[in-house]
Symmetry: C2
Amino acid sequence: MKKRGEIQIHPLVEPLAYLLGTWRGEGRGHYPTIDDFSYSEESSWDHDGRPFLYYRQNTWNLATGAPSHSEAGFWRVKDGGRIELVIAHNNGVVEVQSGTFKGTRIEVASTELSSAPTAMTIGGLARVFEVVGDSLSYELAMAFDEHASQNHLTATLQRQSG
Amino acid sequence: MKKRGEIQIHPLVEPLAYLLGTWRGEGRGHYPTIDDFSYSEESSWDHDGRPFLYYRQNTWNLATGAPSHSEAGFWRVKDGGRIELVIAHNNGVVEVQSGTFKGTRIEVASTELSSAPTAMTIGGLARVFEVVGDSLSYELAMAFDEHASQNHLTATLQRQSG
């Protein structure tokens, strides 16, 4: 098969081409039910010419280096600045997110959330991404248990070259 | 971070270590609603020491070489031969599958299926995998529209070295 670098980007994906590649950085997490924590992160977006992005995220405990959270899925780009995310999480959660993008700002919220039989149940997730130059920042809000949607994660990643 | 080859496999994953690596081969698909088709496939399983496998699948139209279907997610291995799959599909579907494994045979069926707003709705998916030597075969059954669960995909993949 062709290497992805040789493949023409789909016109629908072109407005989000700034995401393509690998990003690394650090984030902080908090929630009423857990202790505050810090993490390192590597996230990547790739394409194969179709109207979606491949998405992978891995985080590690900043203190110990142990793997923490992992996600994988697809960002389906629609016309009119609409976008749909389908994501599986290593903790047994799958989600559909729907939302919009304008320039380098992307806002999505969960429309479907399901859990594997032995996994936790999440009430809702909402994400805002913003890219400024070679810096990508995001915030993730979560509703969980009796707690209304509130900030859970904040991170800033830098674009990696090569 | 450590390379995965240097990381000790989790005891829960050990019984499925035969999956680790990359597999390539061909499959055939059919369903009452579509024409029969043939595809090439590359699937891979990886681990990072935690009790799950990373899973990626890509298929291509055998005649044209065009990308066809893509999946990504996690296979969560439990004790007692139980397993949970959480998978996102490029076509906008997310699924949870639950089932069992015994030796090199794995049987799972969907417990949760959701779709992105613009994606198709699937009634159910069931998968059987079996590894014999360096050959991995699977069958996938699907319920869709008014059609009861029936075989949709059959494929045989060969283990790739290195």
